[in-house]
C-alpha cells in the first residue's frame, strides 16, 4: 500500500508539472494581456507601467521558474485584478463547486447504476428502449442549451425555481432556498455524466450476466434478485468504477458551463473571470487546484477498485 502510494505520488508530481508548464505557456501565448483590460483611454505609457509593475516584461521562461518556485512553497501569488491572494480567492469559491459536483456524483451514480441495471435486465423491452432514448438525448443535447431552456420553463414561464445564484448564503437559512437554487444546476450537470454511467452499466451488466459464474449461482438455487444484485452487479461494478473515475474531469469542465449559466459562484465562474481578465496567477492557481482534485479522485478510484476486485493486488 505504502509503495503504491509513493509511486502514485511521484507520477502525480510529474503530471502536475507538465500541466502547469502547458497552461503557463498557453495563457502567455493568448493575445492581449492584463493591460488590455485597462480603460480604453489609457496611454501607452500607462500600459507599459502596468506590464512592468506586474513583472510581465520578463521572458516567459523566467516568469515560469519564478512562479513554480513560489508555488512549490505554497504561494500561488496575488490576483492581478483584485490584489487578493490567489489561494484565498480559490478557497472562497471551491466549496460551492464541491457542493455542486458531490450532489451530481451521488445522484448520477445511484440513478445511473439503477437505470443501467434495469435496462440490462429488460433488454429489448420497453423500459430498455425508454432508458436508451433518454440516454442518447442526454448525451447529445448541449448543456448550455438545455440549461437555458430549463430556465425559460421553470424560472420564467412557471416561476417555480430561481434562474441563478447560490441562494441566501450567510443570511437566514432556508431549506427551500438552498435546495431550489441547487435543483437546476445539479440537473444540468447530471445530464452530462448520467447517460455515460447508464450506458456503461448496461453493457457491463449484460456482459457479466452471460458469464459462467452467473449460471453457477442459478444452479445453486439463488433467487433471481441475488443473482442480479449480488453476483452480477458486484462484478459489473468493477469497470463502472473506472468509468466514474474518468468522468470526474468531465464533471469539472461541465461545472464551468453550468456555473456560468446559473451564476453559481464556484471555481467554474472563477476560471472564466480569470481567463477574461488575463489574470495569469489566478488561471494558474485554479488549474493547479483542479488538477490536484482530478489526481486525488483517480487515486481514490484506484483504491476503491482494489477493494471491489480481489484480483487487483497493487494496493
Amino acid at each position: 500500500m505504502l509503495r503504491f502510494l509513493v509511486n502514485r505520488l511521484g507520477q502525480s508530481i510529474i503530471l502536475l508539472l507538465i500541466v502547469t508548464i502547458i497552461t503557463f505557456f498557453l495563457i502567455n501565448l493568448a493575445p492581449g494581456g492584463p493591460s488590455s483590460t485597462m480603460r480604453m483611454d489609457a496611454t501607452a505609457e500607462e500600459r507599459q507601467a502596468m506590464v512592468e509593475n506586474l513583472g510581465l516584461d520578463q521572458p516567459v521562461l523566467v516568469r515560469y521558474v519564478d512562479w513554480i518556485t513560489n508555488a512549490v512553497q505554497g504561494d500561488l501569488g496575488v490576483s492581478f485584478n483584485t490584489s487578493e491572494p490567489v489561494t484565498q480567492r480559490i478557497l472562497e469559491r471551491l466549496p460551492y463547486t464541491i457542493e455542486l459536483t458531490v450532489f451530481t456524483i451521488i445522484i448520477s451514480v445511484l440513478l445511473g447504476i439503477f437505470l443501467g441495471v434495469l435496462s440490462a435486465i429488460k433488454r429489448g423491452k420497453a423500459q430498455d428502449h425508454v432508458i436508451n432514448f433518454f440516454s442518447v438525448i442526454g448525451l447529445s443535447v448541449p448543456a448550455f442549451w438545455l440549461g437555458l431552456m430549463l430556465i425559460l420553463l421553470f424560472s420564467i414561464n412557471l416561476g417555480w425555481l430561481p434562474s441563478s445564484g447560490v441562494g441566501s448564503r450567510g443570511g437566514e437559512f432556508s431549506l427551500w432556498g438552498y435546495v431550489s437554487h441547487l435543483i437546476l444546476p445539479v440537473l444540468i450537470l447530471t445530464t452530462t455524466v448520467l447517460p455515460n454511467i447508464v450506458r456503461f452499466t448496461r453493457s457491463s451488466m449484460l456482459e457479466v450476466i452471460s458469464q459462467n459464474y452467473i449460471r453457477t449461482a442459478r444452479a445453486k438455487g439463488a433467487k433471481e434478485s441475488i443473482v442480479l444484485y449480488v453476483h452480477a452487479l458486484r462484478n459489473a461494478l468493477i469497470p463502472i468504477i473506472t468509468i466514474i473515475g474518468m468522468l470526474i474531469p468531465r464533471l469539472l469542465s461541465g461545472a464551468v458551463i453550468t456555473e456560468a449559466i446559473f451564476g453559481w459562484t464556484g471555481i467554474g465562474t472563477l476560471i472564466i473571470e480569470a481567463a477574461r481578465g488575463r489574470d495569469y496567477p489566478l488561471v494558474m492557481g485554479v488549474t493547479v487546484v483542479i488538477t490536484v482534485v482530478v489526481v486525488v479522485c483517480n487515486l481514490l478510484v484506484d483504491i476503491l477498485y482494489s477493494r471491489v476486485d480481489p484480483r487487483v493486488k497493487n494496493v
Binding site: N212, Y213, G221
Partner: protein, 348 residues
Amino acid sequence: MDKILEIDNLVTAYQGKEGFVKAVDGVSFDLNRGDTICIVGESGSGKSVTAMSIMRLVEFENGKIREGTIKFNGEDLAKKSNEEMRKIRGSRISMIFQEPLTALNPVFTVGKQITEAILFHYPIGKKEAWRRAEEMIRLVGLSDPKARLKQYPHELSGGMRQRVMIAIALASEPELLIADEPTTALDVTIEAQILELLRSLRRERNMSIMLITHDIGVAAEMADRIIIMYAGKIMEISDTQDLFDQPLHPYSKGLLDSVPRMDGERGVPLNSIEGSIPRLNEVPDGCRFSPRCPFATEKCHEEMPPLEFRGTRQVACWHVDQLLENDSLSNDRKGGEFIESGIKEPSY
C-alpha cells in the same frame, strides 16, 4: 428398481434467428437411484442441453422445453414454477460445470460461495454454515480448510477450483448430481483424482450421478449405463460392459474405434469418423448420422429409425441385425484398456 429420474420425449429448443432450433429432440431415458449414467457425444450433440433442461436453466439462456416430461422422484420438473424449481436447484439436484476457471464468482471468497449454497436452502445460522463448508472442503480432499475458505478463486489452481465446485454442489446433500464435463478442462492426473472423488462420494452418499462427457474413456470408468447421443437424439443406451463388448449403433462403434488402445498395433493411424456433426438448423432428413454412416442405405436417408429395445439395451438403427452379423464374422473386440479418448472435441 427405484427410479430417481425418468425423462420422456424431451424436446428443448433455442430461439434462433429463423425460429426455434431443436437442440434436444425427443430424448427419453431413466436413471436408477444410486446409479451413474453417462451421456456421451460430440459437441453439439445436445448432451449439455439435456442437463440444462433437467435443471431448468435453459430458460435463462433463450432456450425452452417444448415437449416432454422430466420426472424427478415422480414429480414433473418441466411443469414446476420458477420458484418451486429454484428450491430444487442446488438442494435436491446439483450441477457442476465444465469450466472450473470461470464457474466460480471471482469477487467472492470460496467460503462465501459454499456457505451461500447451504444458506439458500437450510434455515441455519452463518456460523453453522461455515462449519459445514469447512467439512465440505475436507470432504473434497483440500488441505487446510480454514485457509481455503478465506481464499478467492483466482488464488486456486484449476483442479482445486473444480473441487470447490464439487463442494458447493454437495453442500446441501443432493440426491442427484449432474456433472457436465467436470474434467475436460483439467489435466489427466487431476482428472483421475476428480473422477475418483466422484466415485467415492457416490458410494458414501448413495447419490445418483448423471455424467456428461465427450470422453468415452471417462464413461468407461464411471458409468453403469451409457447413453450415446448424436445431433439431439439418442442413438444407443447400453450397460457399460455391453457397449464395450459389442456396440450396436454404427456411431457407437465409430466412437469406440477412434479410441487409441494399449494393445493396438503401433504405427497404424487411428480410426476417425469422417465428417462432422450437423448444425442444429441443418439436420439431415432420416437418420441424423446417415451422412457420416458407412452402412447407410436409402432408407436411412429418408426415415429416422426409432429407439427400440434389444434386450436391456436400446438402439436407433435400421441395420442392427446386419451389423451384428458382420461383426460376429470379423470382430475380435474385447473390452480393452482404454486410455485417453480419441473423440475430437473442438477448442474450449
